[in-house]
Amino acid sequence: MANVMTVEVVSPEKVLYSGEATMVITRTIGGGEVAFQPGHVAFLGALVENHTRVFLADGSTEDVAVHGGFVEVSDNKVSILSDAAELGTNVDIERARAAKQRAEEVLRHEHDAEAISALGRAHARLNAAGASF
């Protein structure tokens, strides 16, 4: 069995990341976190806002903030499709913190779906950037 697989993180504007990895962890709608390793059975899932971790073949980790999208696994290849995704190293931490505070402020007064997803995005960003909350 091959012990690496190809991973692609694709947004409509560009291919964010493409390379070989030993494991990918992401989070599907309702299904919690799911990890893929080489040789995983063909899989299709819809994703929520999450912090996706790609464990590269050389031992390092690529952190990606994925704001919804899909994951497809087939033929030892993991493709993550997302309309909005960003690499952890590209996250503007200050902005994410501010967005989180704003969302929390709104949620204190009312139950707003937009604010909840904004909070989810902020969490995904901060997690991916490895920053404290």
Partner: protein, 361 residues
């Protein structure tokens, strides 16, 4: 008067040169933007390919979703056209091509007794259809030369909502497909409902047909995935269309501005020839007048010949410094013989200052 014509021509040449500078600048800008737009078209391909593949895998796996986006309607009563044009003009036949294609379809629909809804994308489409009295749906504009995914998303969501509400029964995209910098074509592509051939057609490319229905695991269930996926798919299609349109717009503008620059050059060349000829004509006329004037005086007095030469200098130098103006001549009846002859006469009358002026020259 010959001098007046020369001045007019000079003005025209100057304005033409200014125009040429503008068109040249626009040409260069468009040329540099084509490359960037082309890269964006290419960068969007992986996503749209992948999402097409996922849709295909899902339908191969038998995810026969109840999603209205996938099921066509039995009777198509109202069609919706998303007409993608530029926000600005000066791009040759780019806007008119798309508008004409869309208008042809709409007229055919009206004849067939169907309703229509136009979603103009870009200011030009809106202006065109509004002027001609078509009823318009929501307009999108302000991003034609550099569309972002958020723009495509807004259009996609609007279109999906229109379709889902039953307001329209099918949606078509009218845009200019970018094939290469030298060739683009206006295309009309069905967007919603998504049919099998639509899905495989992708962005005008034939899809691979190895729909190998490998057994997938789904999380959550296939139907839910498909339901969330299809709107994304529509957005991706719209995005691809917008990027194609933007690249085409730049290509069209570059070509239009190149020919405008060439035309300006040609015009400048022709006008210069005409202007030079007019100037030459007026000089020739003046010489003829001088020679005629000298001959009219007839007598071979040396002194007078000398005066004629001096006046020739004055005529070409442009400044008749020191010479009395023709209007001051005491003998008004001689004016018809030409200004030089008149000055001759007046010089002979007032012999005090003329020789001095001649020495000054």
């Amino acid at each position: 008067m010959a001098g007046g014509q020369e001045r007019i021509l000079r003005g025209r040449i100057q304005s033409m040169q200014a125009t040429k500078k503008i068109t040249r600048a626009m040409e260069l800008i468009a040329a540099s933007r084509i490359v960037k737009a082309q890269q964006r078209v290419e960068a969007a391909v992986p996503y749209s390919e992948q999402i097409t593949e996922v849709v295909r895998d899902l339908s191969a796996a038998g995810a026969s979703s109840e999603s209205p986006l996938l099921a066509g309607r039995d009777e198509v009563k109202n069609k919706c056209y998303v007409v993608i044009t530029a926000d600005r003009g000066l791009c040759g036949g780019y806007n008119t091509g798309v508008q004409r294609a869309a208008e042809g379809e709409i007229k055919a629909d009206v004849v067939a007794g169907k309703g229509y809804e136009i979603i103009p994308v870009g200011k030009k489409a809106e202006a065109y259809f509004r002027f001609r009295g078509y009823t318009l749906g929501q307009a999108f504009q302000g991003f034609s030369d550099n569309p972002s995914y958020a723009d495509a998303k807004a259009i996609g969501q609007h279109v999906v909502a229109l379709y889902a509400s039953g307001h329209v029964d099918s949606v078509e995209l009218v845009y200019t497909r970018f094939i290469s910098a030298g060739s683009q074509e206006v295309v009309l592509r069905p967007l919603v409902p998504l049919q099998r051939d639509t899905v495989e057609g992708g962005d005008g490319k034939a899809g691979s047909t190895d729909g190998s229905g490998s057994d997938y695991e789904f999380e959550p269930d296939p139907t839910t995935i498909l339901d969330t996926l299809l709107p994304r798919y529509v957005e991706a299609r719209v995005y691809a269309a917008l990027l194609n349109a933007a690249a085409s717009e730049h290509a069209f503008r570059q070509r239009a501005m190149k020919s405008a620059t060439d035309n300006a050059e040609e015009l400048i060349k022709n006008l210069s020839i005409i202007m030079n000829r007019a100037r030459q004509d007026s000089i020739t006329t003046e010489i003829m007048e001088i020679v005629g004037g000298a001959e009219a005086l007839g007598s071979g007095k040396d002194e007078q010949v000398r005066y004629v030469e001096l006046d020739l200098d004055a005529a070409f130098g442009g400044s008749s410094a020191g010479h009395p103006a023709p209007s001051t001549t005491p003998t008004g009846d001689v004016q018809t013989a030409g200004s030089i002859a008149v000055e001759e006469r007046s010089n002979t009358n007032t012999t005090t200052d003329s020789p001095d002026a001649g020495e000054n020259i």
